[in-house]
Symmetry: C2
Subunit: 694 residues, 2 copies
């Protein structure tokens, strides 16, 4: 398809030739989803659920210098986008939608073309003309063609697809679990730590292993093959690829965190169409990328203030006091939101002294801050739970090293700040089960469905600082939560109406490659002899995590874990799994669990470079890392991640798929697609926010 | 189950207590599958296809010294194994099978209990009494219990399962592709190199991505969670976990490569029951573990001579001149065997001057040594193809750097040795398609099914020496081969009768975590600035392997690869994938493809330690590795690997499974299980080796 696009038009050939001279421009890009001087958002290859709302934006760019300047940096004043069903005659977009043509925005930006340009501090200036068309939709399934005409005879082409309407809904409700950063290799390692095998056969398994639908998904984003958690969560929750740091928007070239072309998430669609009750649970701070991706829109995931406002008021709220000049899907707030990140809900300084907690309370939300108070909630009312100032403590710290809890600030009711030591903090399971109770009760009250996103965030956060045992503890807690959630759904008789999907947003380079005799390693005196403590193949042996410290791993007894079914019997055995290290900063490795959460394995030099910190693991051996030494953390990786589905519609997720298909297939299972006749976007709403059917 | 075994018997409690004092004995094990002083093979948790042949062996061990000596190192003379259906009264095994009790073997062995014992050179001596019962089977599906009684009141218990008979065969033929070492992360990376994506959507995909049955399998072995390729291939081809280095046997404590307790492979069963035509294809030397696992039996995969003999004569041949004193499944040779490894077919020295090539020819095999002669083969006759002395050249060397072919010795007809430069060498696709032609023709002649194993061996071999691009080239060649094979099966009208399963035997720690600007890296002068060339997240950018060298990766044209559909357009772009490195030796990394195959990244010091060799990558940066410096290669990893199934019965492989279930499920799809009535083990054979039905 696209091949012929670019081969059949003379204009495209011109552009291709121009780009050929900038073949080196890979390190940094002029603009994402914008291979030519003319850009269309949503870009070529976009796929929509029928009736899904989105903005259109077109840009014409002209570099003034650099390797491929155009027309002295002056873009054409005259440019227009044409759209139509594939094969039909194309129509100008304002005419197609019977809307007014917006005013042209004019601005410029600079970028470095590659590392040599950056080293020489030589930026390229680009002038831009742009237009945005807001809050549009396409109802008719099939292919669409788009053509941006600019600079005389230049053209940028795109092809979109609107997915077929589902014949009928297979499920009413959905629970989407995200194991942030959960690579397949980490699932395997978690099974090794949490379950006993005898002569090569596991005596129990992960709940994930029992999934009735199983597949894998490709996680890369529009502009890069390694994704961050914002745009990958966007793919899962809205069915669109985007660019690094972007939440449910395409990143335009303005450099601004608001006003970028947006698209509707499946949660927003569920609310709009079915008045779905929406729940968000995360062990991260709640303004973090994955929880934010449920219903917020910004090209800059760091806009925490803006994100929290959208949880309550939807995607058309003011940004930092600047009103947004567009309409968007009405959204009157999530029903349940539990997690960390109180920091983004309390006033930070005297200039911004509005507590968002009070704003939630004014809108009828119950407010809780402890595990105990979680159990006193009224299931019929909305609830905000902020169980810590920042990311919540990990399962390992809550269960194995509870003395670390004091370092996690929690709510101090005496002065309404997050400054008290954390003592009474829920985990993913407690938050998820309580959120389910509330969603179920509220859904039952008016017959509406519910949609929940629950994130095990610190799988990723622990991996970033190479704290592997804590990452695996979080993964086991996720598995335990999935098991408990499905048990609860079955008790409630909801499993036949509910789809449960467990997946990751990306991986981390990780694997287990042997075992380490940590006692030998600690006593050995040289780097070489320390590395001799690693046993590979036959000497990797059996999992020592499934026997008490004084029992051989070869003992075939299945011991009960003091931490519950599916967790290690011993978190700190002499023979640990030798694991980790595929995309990491430097470190000293001793293969032992850190008794306190690892903040980093490196220390910063005066030069700004980071070097392994011997004090992090005093008896460890040196590993050099394979990332730039200018960075302080490990990074994400390319690997496809698993999709583990249960309940109604689970088999929809079998086999290999793209990350965007997760969102699209959830929409298919819930039958969220609408043709024009069935659309509610233009209907009037009742006071309760529910849309009157036409 | 097992839990109660070990809790309910007083004897087990005694043993557990004894083991508790040897809790440290993880690095090395007294014996695999032998947690107590009494050992049963097949061990606890074994699962059989109904009618599958196997040997039983029992051992009683007594350590004379070390941390847990027993009775001054004297094992009891009096020991017996009891067997019966679960819940039924157990019967002594000789009586159960109405066979004679074998003579007791007596011997001893030594081992180190852990790294401290090894450092002090303090071995533990173990005396053993043992018995082997040969060529048995179980016909009735269900659970079986076993009890080894020894040393007075000591007991070792085991539970076995015989799988239910299939209701009917879903497929007649099977082709099992093994991507040796193919971790899921490598499949993802191969897709990135071989296929173009535009705005995050792939324009074409791997054939593996189109599988109609998809799952993952756990690869660990009996005695260790990191497997080698012998026992993992055994699980795939016979449905039993074994121990490192073992092929279709359990490893007893004799230390000998022959006479260990064997079990029948599904290929042997197919031949015995259906007179199946059997094909073996590998890019490795043919005596290597994966091809050997089709139909040979030894606890030491390095017994190449013994293995080659078994390809022709089955598992009861003499070992190194020593006759085997047991009966085994009649096996009159594979029908097709194509690969490398001529070294193991020609006389090595004057003492052993029998050419195995002549032995094959005497038995009616056609013999070929070049790609051209492959196409002259008579499809109705058996064929032996030896296309090189050792492992065959990789796809990358055959297609991108053909000048390297001269370094791969091939057949020299002038002196009947493998000493000529390789010029005319087939790849996996050519060998597999020709093997299919022969199997199909021979099967059609007598209405029998065919079974083929085809291995992309150098995925693994390149990973061991951290030659990542060559590993990915082999993976893309495998994918291309799977595509071509399925096309051919469809042409032949065989796809409805044929199951195609593609899987791996284990993974390698591997992932892609960014891109590398190799031009910047080459020019940078320090380790730190070289590492600055690595771009992560947004700066990872797009795959530069899918555009010509002078075109930006952002160009949306789908270029045709000079190497064919599904391969890179450019193997050596400026912006490469930054990849690798999770269980590696030291190296200097420059992220560029090596123009000659990487033999190793390290050099040996006088101390016997291995250090990164700067000459391997003169402009690279140093990476320290995370394995013992006493070893020269990367190792395998834990990660579950993918199972990609096509054709008849493909959905049988959906979801999570154990490696042994691959073999068992192939047997199920082919309906190889037999109850006593349907069994042919005791039948007379015709001269053509076909079993007369009773």
């Amino acid at each position: 398809m696209v091949k012929s696009h670019h081969k059949k038009t003379a204009a495209a050939a011109v552009v291709a030739a121009a780009l050929a001279s900038t073949a080196s421009a890979q390190t940094y890009r002029r603009a994402a989803a914008c291979p030519d001087l003319g850009c269309i958002y949503p870009p070529d290859q976009s796929t929509f659920v029928a009736g899904q709302a989105f903005d259109i934006r077109i840009e014409v760019q002209a570099p003034a210098n650099g390797t491929a300047p155009y027309n002295n940096g002056v873009p054409s004043e005259d440019f227009a986008l044409y759209i139509g069903g594939k094969g039909a005659e194309l129509e100008e977009v304002a005419s197609f939608y019977q809307i007014e043509d917006p005013i042209v925005e004019k601005y410029n930006f600079t970028y470095f073309e590659d590392l040599f340009y950056e080293a020489n501090d030589t930026a390229t200036l680009v002038n831009v003309h742009a237009k945005s068309y807001r809050h549009l939709t396409l109802y008719n399934p099939g292919k669409y063609e788009l053509k941006l005409q600019y600079n005389g005879n230049m053209e940028t082409l795109a092809e979109w697809e609107v997915l077929p309407l589902a014949e009928k809904a297979k499920a009413k409700n959905v629970i989407l679990f995200v194991g942030d950063g959960m690579a397949p290799s980490m699932v395997t390692a978690a099974r090794l730590l949490g379950h006993k095998s005898i002569n090569g056969k596991y005596q129990s398994k992960l709940k994930l292993d029992e999934c009735t639908g199983f597949g894998m998904q490709h996680t890369h984003s529009i502009d890069s093959f390694i994704t961050d958690s914002a745009n990958s969560a966007t793919a899962l929750m809205a069915g669109h690829k985007s660019t690094v740091n972007a939440l449910n928007t395409f990143t335009d070239s303005t450099g601004k965190g608001y006003g970028n072309p947006k698209f509707e998430t499946i949660f927003e669609m569920g609310r709009r169409i079915n008045n779905a009750k929406i729940g968000i649970v995360s062990t991260a701070y709640l303004a973090d990328a994955t929880p934010a991706a449920v219903c917020t829109h910004t090209s800059q995931r760091s806009q925490y203030d803006y994100i929290v406002d959208q949880f309550l008021d939807g995607g058309a709220v003011a940004y930092n006091g600047v009103p947004q000049n567009f309409s968007w899907t009405p959204f009157d707030g999530v029903d349940v939101i539990f997690g960390g990140g109180g920091k983004d809900f309390v006033p930070k300084d005297s200039n911004k002294n509005v507590s968002k907690i009070e704003r939630f309370q004014d809108r009828g939300y119950q407010f809780v801050t402890t595990n105990s108070s979680l159990f006193e909630l009224d299931h019929s009312k909305r609830a905000l739970g902020l169980f810590g100032e920042d990311t919540l403590p990990t399962w390992v710290d809550r269960h194995v090293f509870p003395e670390n809890l004091a370092d996690f600030p929690a709510w101090n009711p005496e002065n309404n700040t997050f400054t008290a030591p954390s003592t009474d903090v829920p985990g993913l399971k407690e938050m998820t089960l309580k959120a389910l109770d509330i969603l179920h009760t509220r859904s039952k009250a008016d017959g509406s469905p519910f949609m929940m996103m629950s994130e095990a965030a610190s799988i990723d956060k622990a991996m970033h600082v190479t704290d592997y045992p804590r990452a695996l503890g979080e993964l086991l807690e996720l598995d335990d939560t999935v098991r408990a959630t499905i048990d609860r759904l079955e008790e409630l008789g909801l499993m036949e109406d509910t789809l449960v999907v467990v997946t990751a947003d990306h991986g981390h380079g990780f694997d287990v490659y042997g075992s380490a005799d940590t006692e030998y390693l600690q006593q050995a005196q040289t780097n070489d002899t320390k590395r001799d403590a690693i046993g590979t193949y036959r000497e990797s042996g059996l999992s020592a995590y499934q026997v008490p410290a004084d029992v051989s791993p070869q003992n075939n007894t299945v011991f009960e874990s003091p931490y519950g079914k599916g967790f290690p019997v011993n978190w700190d055995p002499r023979y640990t799994a030798a694991m980790g290290f595929a995309a990491d900063v430097e470190q000293y490795e001793d293969f032992k669990i850190k008794t306190a959460p690892r903040k980093t394995s490196i220390r910063e030099l005066e030069t700004g470079r980071y070097r392994a910190d011997p004090e992090d693991s005093p008896n460890g051996f040196y590993m050099s890392g394979n990332l730039p030494t200018s960075g302080a953390q490990g990074v994400h990786s390319l690997v496809d991640v698993g999709v583990y589905a249960f309940g109604a519609g689970a088999s929809t997720f079998n086999g290999m798929q793209d990350s965007t298909q997760i969102g699209q297939r959830i929409a298919e299972v819930l039958s969220l697609g609408r043709d024009k006749k069935g659309d509610f976007a233009v209907c009037k709403r009742n006071n309760d926010g529910k849309c009157k059917k036409q």
